[in-house]
């Protein structure tokens, strides 16, 4: 029945994916870094590295600490800025046979707005992912995403200038993620992606010092998957826009768990570092699962959790 399987996901506002597998921002560079390991055209899409209005050097080294079943990072949005992206990177990636989404971050609302506005004119960028949840920058970033008021404000401003698909990436570092999700939906976001990293910390006991230069950083990997699943499930129940789930996905089974919890698509994050071909393997693994379970359309899996 393989031929009849439909993995297409429509995320709304003229944005659909050939399958629900995306790669997460900050873990996949601009896609070019992975071309030796997989065929990008097999993926639903890629979310490229967090992009800001002005270039950013990011945080000092060390920026990474391994943890049980995961890692902490404190990269701090190192990137060459949106103008460099438009001039030098976009020409290299615009003809990928997959959807390219740009992750947008900022320190001020004006930065978010100007960056989104500039990206909106690029024909081959059908969507942006608004990062209001980066835990590794001093100002802006997560500050917007941890209150419903802050989240509303930035989404409203960007929505006013960005007509294409607007995905908003939510922080798990909040008391009630559904409150933020509803606020963002109310401002006209087209979809929500969650979760960004969980704020964490690592200490070198011998040296009595923190491992990361920033002391705290963002935790990702299989260790956060249960938290991510729970939040996706909670959010998917209360919003009417698609949810893109992520957090510790390492296999097709993990991906399917997120779909069942209510995600319309998923993002593969730091496991790309462990197996640089994993995203392609997850696409074929989902196909195998659908064959095995005689599921003809991926939509039958989305929110398909049986709770009693």
């Amino acid at each position: 029945m393989s031929k009849d399987i439909n993995m297409t996901v429509d995320l709304g506002n003229n944005f659909s994916l050939k399958n629900p597998v995306l790669t997460a921002s900050g873990t996949f560079g601009y896609g070019t870094e992975y071309q030796d390991f997989l065929d990008l055209s097999t993926l639903g899409g890629i979310v490229v590295k967090g992009t800001t209005w002005s270039p950013r050097e990011g945080n000092p080294y060390p920026r990474m600490a391994e943890t049980p079943a995961g890692m902490l990072n404190a990269v701090g949005l190192q990137n060459k800025g949106v103008h460099y992206f438009v001039k030098h990177i976009y020409p290299q990636i615009k003809d990928y046979l997959t959807q390219v989404i740009v992750n947008v971050s900022g320190s001020t609302i004006e930065d978010y707005v100007r960056t989104a506005e500039l990206l909106s004119i690029l024909d081959h960028i059908p969507a942006i992912e608004l990062n209001i949840s980066c835990p590794n920058v001093k100002e802006g970033g997560m500050a917007f995403g941890v209150t419903a008021g802050g989240a509303s404000e930035v989404v409203r401003a960007v929505r006013a200038v960005y007509p294409k698909h607007l995905m908003v990436k939510l922080s798990p570092n909040v008391t009630d993620i559904t409150e933020i999700a509803r606020a963002v939906e109310a401002e006209g976001a087209d979809s929500l992606s969650l979760i960004n990293t969980i704020l964490g910390m690592a200490i070198d006991a011998e040296r009595r010092k923190p491992i990361l230069s920033t002391i705290t950083g963002g935790l990702s990997g299989p260790c956060i998957k249960p938290v991510a699943l729970r939040m996706v499930w909670q959010v998917a129940k209360v919003v009417h826009i698609p949810v893109i789930g992520m957090g510790g996905i390492t296999s097709a089974t993990d991906a399917i768990e997120f779909l069942l919890a209510g995600a319309s698509a998923i993002q593969v994050g730091c496991y790309n570092f462990v197996d640089p071909s994993i995203s392609q393997k997850i696409v074929s693994g989902i196909k195998d699962y659908m064959n095995r379970h005689q599921v003809e359309d991926i939509s039958a899996l989305i929110g398909g959790l049986t709770t009693r």
């Binding site: 030796d36 050097e57 990474m64 049980p68 990072n73 190192q78 570092f273 071909s277």
Partner: protein
């Protein structure tokens, strides 16, 4: 050269002292090109390590295709590979990174390769490549004590001078590498170094004082190994650079060590 994920097969696993060992790993197909100073990323899933570990290529043989890796037991991953038996498999991503410059133009007629501890690993293959380019390398190898200076016969077999230093004086001259008497009035055309950070910084300063062009191989904490995560950056004269793709080898004047 294209990077790939592959399953290597352990041909031998030889303990060299209480913490160093050498793995001889068969590759399913030869690599087109391997430059000295390049590295591989190894999995050690069974040890509980989540990320891969970067290990520098100590030697490479094209036919039959095999890698030699010199590893020190320091953490979960490196302790796990020490237990691997002949015939077991090793999940490898490689070859990665930007290696040493082996051209006669940079190396000159009389290069000195300075290694410390397990950092001597990439210098063996570098020495062999220089020799292939008609340049006889000299080595200056340092360790805390005699037992930590491994692969001596292999370095000596290349035919150039091999000098040793140990901190306890058990082999060669007593002290650290830059204390060696050859460093007083050096006549070398280039210096390549790999080892502990303080050693590499001392060697770099020494080379600059004597106006000898030098390259250094860095070992920053790394996650992806392919330039995607931006974790392993070094603060260079041109800003942060990923050591996994723009290094691990750098010209020392690119760094901010001086």
């Amino acid at each position: 050269m294209k990077k790939e994920i592959l399953q290597g097969t352990i041909l031998s696993n030889t303990p060299l002292n209480e913490s160093y060992y050498q793995l001889e790993v068969a590759l399913p197909t030869p690599w087109e090109e391997v430059n000295p100073g390049q590295f591989v990323q190894l999995l050690a899933r069974e040890s509980g390590a989540f990320l891969r570990r970067p290990i520098s290529i100590c030697d490479y043989n094209a036919a039959p295709a095999k890698l030699f890796l010199l590893i020190q037991q320091v953490g979960k991953g490196s302790r796990y590979w020490a237990t691997l038996k002949t015939g077991s498999t090793l999940d490898i991503v490689g070859p990665l990174g930007h290696g040493f410059t082996c051209t006669p133009h940079f190396a000159g007629p009389k290069p000195l390769l300075v290694g410390g501890g397990v950092g001597i690993a990439p210098l063996l293959y570098l020495g062999k490549q220089l020799l292939r380019n008609g340049i006889v390398p000299s080595f200056l190898l340092g360790g805390r004590t005699r037992l930590l200076l491994v692969l001596q016969e292999q370095f000596e077999a290349l035919g150039g001078d091999v000098f040793y230093t140990t901190e306890d004086g058990s082999l060669g001259e007593k002290g650290v590498v830059t204390d060696h008497s050859i460093c007083t009035h050096p006549s070398y055309s280039s210096v390549y170094t790999c080892g502990p950070l303080p050693m590499m910084q001392n060697v770099t300063k020494w080379a600059h004082i004597h106006e000898i062009p030098s390259e250094v191989s860095l070992e920053n904490r790394m996650a992806c190994g392919i330039g995607a995560c931006l974790c392993c950056v070094e603060d260079t004269q041109e800003g942060n650079k990923c050591i996994c793709t723009e290094g691990p080898v750098f010209r020392t004047e690119q760094l901010r060590w001086l």
